[in-house]
Symmetry: C2
Subunit: 598 residues, 2 copies
Amino acid sequence: MAYRAPVEDVLFFLKTCTSLPRLMEQGLVDLTLDVVEPVLEEAGKFAASVIEPLDRGADTEGCTLKDGAVTTPSGWKAAFQAWNAAGWNAVAAEADFGGQHLPTTLTSALTEFWNTASPSFGIGGVLTQGAIEALTAHGSPALQKTFLEQMVSGAWTGTMNLTESQAGSDLSALRAKAVKQADGSYRIFGTKIFITYGEHDIAENIVHLVLARLPDAPAGTRGLSLFVAPKYLVNADGTLGARNDVVCTGIEHKLGLHGSPTCTMTFGETGEGAVGYLVGEENRGLACMFTMMNNARLAVGIQGVAVAERATQRAFAYARERRQGKAASYGGAGMAPIIHHPDVKRMLLTMRAETDAARAICLMTADALDRSRRLADPVARASALAEASLLTPVAKAFSTDIGIEVASLGVQVHGGMGFIEETGAAQHYRDARIFAIYEGTNGIQAIDLVTRKLPQEGGDVVMTLIADFRDIADEVHALELPAFGRAGEKLAEAVDALGRATRIQLDRLGEENEKALAGATPYLRLFARAAGGAYLAKAALAAHKARLAGDSDPRHAARIALARFFAENLCPQAKGLEDIVEAGPSSLLTADPLLSLP
Amino acid sequence: MAYRAPVEDVLFFLKTCTSLPRLMEQGLVDLTLDVVEPVLEEAGKFAASVIEPLDRGADTEGCTLKDGAVTTPSGWKAAFQAWNAAGWNAVAAEADFGGQHLPTTLTSALTEFWNTASPSFGIGGVLTQGAIEALTAHGSPALQKTFLEQMVSGAWTGTMNLTESQAGSDLSALRAKAVKQADGSYRIFGTKIFITYGEHDIAENIVHLVLARLPDAPAGTRGLSLFVAPKYLVNADGTLGARNDVVCTGIEHKLGLHGSPTCTMTFGETGEGAVGYLVGEENRGLACMFTMMNNARLAVGIQGVAVAERATQRAFAYARERRQGKAASYGGAGMAPIIHHPDVKRMLLTMRAETDAARAICLMTADALDRSRRLADPVARASALAEASLLTPVAKAFSTDIGIEVASLGVQVHGGMGFIEETGAAQHYRDARIFAIYEGTNGIQAIDLVTRKLPQEGGDVVMTLIADFRDIADEVHALELPAFGRAGEKLAEAVDALGRATRIQLDRLGEENEKALAGATPYLRLFARAAGGAYLAKAALAAHKARLAGDSDPRHAARIALARFFAENLCPQAKGLEDIVEAGPSSLLTADPLLSLP
């Protein structure tokens, strides 16, 4: 099945719902809209023609480890090099080191395209970009000079070495050690697990960012320092020198993402220790790492959107071809294409609606990030940063949760064929499962949202956003257009439920913190129901205006139908979610008789 | 991780919530409760000690096909023979052919245990039992004599040959042909796909039940006849004769259930045609096949429960051992076992609550089946049959949907380890995915529920059941016990939402049939929210009474906590589901602009 990048919809959303046009007008983004379109188109073509054809084979073939060297799937290296050569690795980085410094809204769309074509391929670029950001923000000029240009070009890739077997969600338990040397460098010892692209054969060098602990460091996360430790040391002239003492000692046999090597990395295997260089200050490593983690969280959310998009396209294509039974809405001869059966329509529309809502949330998060970095006014920048911080856990957790749900529906649409690996639908179901776990589990995201993000500015940040959602609902309602059905009413109900639940959660913080935590996951889903509904409605309102202005693109009617479907079929869950946030936690905290049974 | 069959909970439920004690008292079931307990215990031990240890290896090893012969995983044949030798294959069949004729409530519990230990193993027995039932109900005495005794002992296994590549959900499109011979037998030609245990090495003979079409048969499902066609023909003395012209020409590479061979079966490969014998009357094959399909639907629902149970036990075990971070409810030293984190508790309790609710729905369906077969009064039998018919699609679809959801939560509880195949959690996520598809997709179940089951007796059947649910809610409410929290109120709300949505769906049938179909899936979930809540509450009320009577079993408190958790955290979804049933379908039926986009 051919993948078709959703260029028109992304472009329409960027034009009508984000700040991108305003940032361009004000010269804060050095681009024009007529450049954005061909960038999206070229990326879509590259993803569909170069990356996507490798994805099934990579799933089947997987990666192999022999004598410390990882072989990636056939075609991987050539595709990666072509991708670099076309400049796609460099789109986000700053210009100083060869980057194009494109706005995050646009680079997020590109991240989606690569990951739709193949998330095993796409995740490599996400990690490299994260490492670039950490070095750009916190690396010394010398480190930046040594590493960044090669990483931006894609000649070298980057990794994040955080997890150890005893320390996953809880980084305070990390044990890897770093010992300072006379020349100012460090020697790193320890074993890191689950390191994506920790070892591979697609680039000349691998730049590991590693969290480790100095001998005299305080316990907990305040004793973590961040280091850069390349696979090959770099000579003063920039050429590659000796092999560093960091080696891949195992790769995982995973449920999905078979094309992406997940490595156990041993630092100090020979006893010498891996040579590493401090990034930022000693014992401030976690703050530095969070620079890359926050952006990686948005990128992982986009991976959820990406796999959902692919599963949705595949399901639509199958449902148009596969014929079974009779359907009232099908007037043709013979059995009806199953897309005509109401229950199949429900699955397909749910897939499309969840995918587009998640994309909208991710793009609005990216837009807030762009404003936080590019607006001139520091107050406006701070306000945008708070909005981005609020939206990031929702973008990550909701998008990756629906990634799984949509991929699962995609299997279902295929019936028995969905369970057969060759069909391809099952791969999406396997691949999507990790996104809800890595870069902070979705439970951690929900806790982050409730305990750190809601209280920003005493709740003003979230309440302002909710008021924006309500304005959108009111605007839809006021139109009283048949095409919108009861969307205004249903969206308003969801937004109001979110408002009440937000107040409940804010009131719990402190004395009833356990209840706030117990309600965090349903609260996050409720947030996404309102936000997703509002952003789809925003796009639908823009589509309505375009139609009024004489634009006959049939996609406008589709946008309105989608926003209506979401409001009438997914927003109503908000009521129950509010109720669960309110009434659910007590039973959860009194369930010890149940939890303690053998 | 050791599997522990939930003997205590099943026994308690059978004793307090089903008709089993009454049927025993009245001599309609030839058993006593003190026999039921050791039967459950022995089955649990067999499942845990003989079957479960093979399950991971079978997933890794899979099945192979060479020269028409399928090799099953190591240990499979010995385990299957030991299972037969212990009499477990014979528990459900009637006594005439060596069966034990145990009540369906009890055999359903046993089906769960085998499938929890290994669904790849368990599904074989489900298919054989279905074939036994079809032959018992519709086979001629001669056919019964030839086949049933060997099938009941497990010496021979059974299959269901329905699906062809162009005919999955829509059996009217079947093309396999049967030609009558002078001796009264038939020759069958055609290719069937997705045939579970269609070929294997664990038994001496395989008894295929096959739907095919006579040359002069009417088009559609009224032209289907059912045949029995064994792998080896059977001599007059009961010994095995010539190899029949039915051969396995392919096995599938599947997402899960790797231990269960899924075969393409070619009838008439040599041109001679497979010898087959008519079961029931010509052109009445679908009705005969439905005998086995309805019972198989309940059994597949139980497979959903089974994998959910296994995933839940695995997640609890991991969450008690894995330590990360601090938790307010943990007073011990070092990092807290993650079971103490509220968000992990929510996942674990959701898994346990959904699993137990699904089991309760399946056991109540089985109970209605028992009453429909064993009660003396024909009116009471008919009424019980209508109840069983109503509950069957809910048991099948809800249990298999939550099978997937619970398995997915199980992966999530394991964090990164969940994505690693060796952990085992991922296998459940893969295995569970097919249950929502085979034996009638869950969409088909929802349509069956709404269009065929709700209108039974003008809606009286469903409304009577809903009134029963309301009585349970009222009883909980009236207790005003702190341990039940707001369970009575929340359950009543869910039941009332179901009542209103049922009325809406009934009113739609006929003129607004498309809307009824479009709302079928959320309606089924709503039904299960009310039913699951009511049945768990029924068990909790019995637990409360046991405690009042001085029984200090700590499981009673756990039962009450579970019913409360379900009512307060899962029943509230009912409101939104009612709203979606009511308001959702319009947008779905006006979404053509969206569905027709490329």
